[in-house]
Symmetry: C2
Subunit: 459 residues, 2 copies
């Protein structure tokens, strides 16, 4: 996280890369494991993502499954899947066995079907069964976010039994840090929870059924958004997840949820460029193809915008200087519109604006649009006037920018609300829609105003 | 969080707004409190942000300090500061007393100095003193992120004392959920921590000094990034924060840290539009002014790019059709460049790329640039050829787009790394820098190639 890496660091990293490469080439298991152990999991992952595929597979095979798993826990699930896919399925299975259950399911969902099936067959049967179960749930539901299993007791057990378990050396317990014990009835359905305070206050011989409290739980289908509301309203460190019959499946911790929110927010800001989950460690053709699919649809939008210019060719021929200012007007209004998009996205994510607030937003944006359009129009008008020594040209460009700023902020402010209303992700679609409209409107305004003022412009 | 609010919801919200407005106008305390209690804190905040300032101040004064505080805990600190600033300082102080200590400090840092001082003087002296202390720390340090106070005991107290405290009805305890008890020596310095397991296993008469374990702590100056590494490496639910003398000041919980990371990620994606923390509830002039400051610097960048076009006016006059395709080439390469920026931002945030990796990134981007530049160039070349019935014009535009795509991905991929190397936030500065360069390069390539092929173009 250093902002200013110095030469020493670069040297250290280069040397590390060489040493690791040589150790892998020499199949020196001990040396490779030592190097990987000596650096952070993130740095190990960075090294792995820079290697060629053979070296990487070789490294993953040589190091201990625990070290490999630590590295994969840090990786986005797409990268983790790539790193396992081509390994021997027994090697991959040993690594998978060491991962958290939610990471396992995420990876299985990303891996190609055949390799995934081979790995699952080679894994410990019980773990594999759990992974199959978990991987059915959508990643943005309680089922997809939960860690399987919970710290649970039956309601006919005693307070003493729970305290003994808490005091024991049971390794399992570490997984449940911070969880309250959940209580199940004789048919294994979730019926309550018990606080540490109640445990410490009650006689050890008392049955849990007598001291347990009501519990708030969610179903495997509960969405990430509903969980957000639940965690906002309550102080829970975690919430138990049940299946449709009411059996306890696992727990979504507040932390897991917060991390999923962080990932989603980063994903959204990236999806604007339509790069998906690209990393430079992916194959060249795949990276080029993905980026192209968005770029080539962009060609169509650009052709539509350009056709506006084409229809005014005679005006352009008469006043060639207009060509200089066309990109300027469309670019400047695009920026104004994107600012309005940004404010709407922020207010949507804070819950301060709802899709029904279109007219409220429009009114607020028009205020800013009138002020900024007026000021920007005068500024650019003056620039054009002095640059081209033509006052009427200044009026044409300035007026066009003023009006187009107004259009841009109105569209920019409301489009995210409209898209959200129709269930389309506004983070992805707002930008391209806005740019095409502001381009077309900008070109149209400049060229039609120029046509109107033609006598004065060429005087 | 509904994606498709229906008419019923809109009606309900409109009615709510009217009822709330009428109750506030009538100063009907009971009714206002009832309405606010009946809706979520987020909805209450949304209503408050839509009212005029007088109604809002009136509402904040009427409702209980607890309800007002619940609402402010949901608000970004800038909005919370606005909502308190103009209240009677006694009213504001009562609300402040109810907030979490880290929220209090964030708000005091946002509020204007004079109102802030008046509110602090009216608050409970002990709380006010804590706020003054906390507000000295930068928000992205352990000091700024911590909640003051911790669940702590002296090393000469007994295991029994801790268990009694855990079993007591002490309200304070709720604040410390999930925290392990921290142990201080006789001079109040942090010396250890004790797990629940050790507590339950030890005799009640044993001194804490004998059973405590070593504790990992951070200093008030520890940065958010260092905390990220710490929480990544360890399973801690929270980490204690000490001042420079080693006295325990408070605790940063893993959750608090994850939420701060989420906020920072959202902030970064917004800072690209330079809208800062704008909400539409802010005064019109302030909103217009902030947006303008970025737009007007953008004018300068645009003028520089436009001057490239201006210097080729004779070429434009000869082949007016070029004006149609100028914005297209610059826009398309801008998109390609932004994709490369997006991948670099993602890899930087995942730790897969470091500022020293410039040549690695450049090599990877050139691969994509060559493929996509080639394909896009041919596509657009064909479009131009058939549209304008001029093969040479197709070659000029296609070649310009190919070359400019190569330039755009090279710059887009490396600029974030270079900015980060110099300690500049790449999320903010990459976009404008990239756009200006790709615009200029695009205009230059199209026009200089057109000049070169002029004899064929006008044949």
């Amino acid at each position: 996280m250093e902002n200013k890496p110095n030469e020493d660091e670069k040297e250290f990293l280069d040397e590390l890369e060489d040493n690791l490469h040589n150790a892998i080439d020499a199949s020196d298991e001990k040396q490779v494991e030592e190097i990987v152990e000596s650096i952070s999991n993130q740095e190990a992952l960075r090294q792995a993502s820079r290697m060629n595929a053979d070296d990487r597979d070789q490294m993953m095979t040589i190091i201990s499954p625990e070290s490999a798993a630590d590295m994969l826990e840090e990786a986005p699930s797409g990268l983790a899947a790539d790193m396992l896919e081509n390994l021997d399925s027994n090697v991959a299975a040993k690594i998978m066995d060491e991962l958290h259950s939610d990471t396992q399911a995420d990876i299985i969902n990303e891996i190609d079907r055949e390799s995934g099936e081979a790995i699952l067959l080679a894994m410990e049967p019980q773990i594999a069964q759990e992974v199959r179960k978990l991987s059915q749930y959508e990643p943005d539901t309680a089922g997809g976010l939960m860690e399987l299993g919970a710290f649970s007791f039956h309601n006919n057990e005693t307070v003493g039994a729970v305290l003994r378990r808490l005091a024991s050396d049971d390794d399992q317990f570490d997984r449940y840090r911070g969880q309250h014990p959940y209580i199940l009835d004789e048919t294994d359905k979730l019926v309550g929870v018990i606080s540490l305070r109640s445990l410490l206050r009650s006689k050890r011989s008392i049955k849990l059924a007598e001291v347990m409290q009501d519990v708030t739980s969610v179903s495997v289908d509960t969405s990430q958004d509903e969980l957000t509301i639940l965690f906002d309203k309550n102080n829970f460190l975690g919430v138990p997840v049940t299946d449709h019959q009411g059996y306890l499946m696992g727990v979504v911790s507040r932390i897991e949820h917060a991390e999923a929110e962080l990932e989603r927010s980063e994903q959204q800001s990236l999806s604007r460029q339509q790069i998906g989950d690209e990393l430079r460690s992916m194959p060249l053709w795949q990276r080029a193809k993905r980026r192209l699919s968005w770029l080539s649809s962009n060609i169509v939008l650009n052709i539509i915008a350009a056709s506006v210019i084409a229809s005014y060719e005679s005006t352009l021929t008469a006043v060639i200087a207009i060509a200089i200012f066309l990109p300027m007007v469309s670019d400047m209004s695009g920026c104004s519109g994107n600012q309005a998009v940004g404010v709407s996205m922020r207010e949507l994510s804070l819950g301060l604006t709802r899709p029904t607030d279109i007219f409220h937003v429009l009114r607020k944006e028009l205020g800013v649009g009138i002020i900024n359009g007026f000021i920007l129009g005068i500024l650019i008008g003056l620039v054009v006037w002095f640059w081209k020594d033509n006052g009427y040209l200044g009026i044409v460009i300035g007026l066009a920018l003023s009006l187009n700023t107004l259009i841009a902020v109105s569209i920019g402010g409301t489009v995210p609300l409209i898209l959200k209303h129709f269930g389309i992700d506004p983070a992805v679609a707002s930008g391209p829609l806005l740019t095409t409209v502001t381009d077309m409107a900008g070109f149209f305004l400049v060229l039609s105003l120029a046509t109107f003022f033609m006598p004065q412009l060429i005087a």
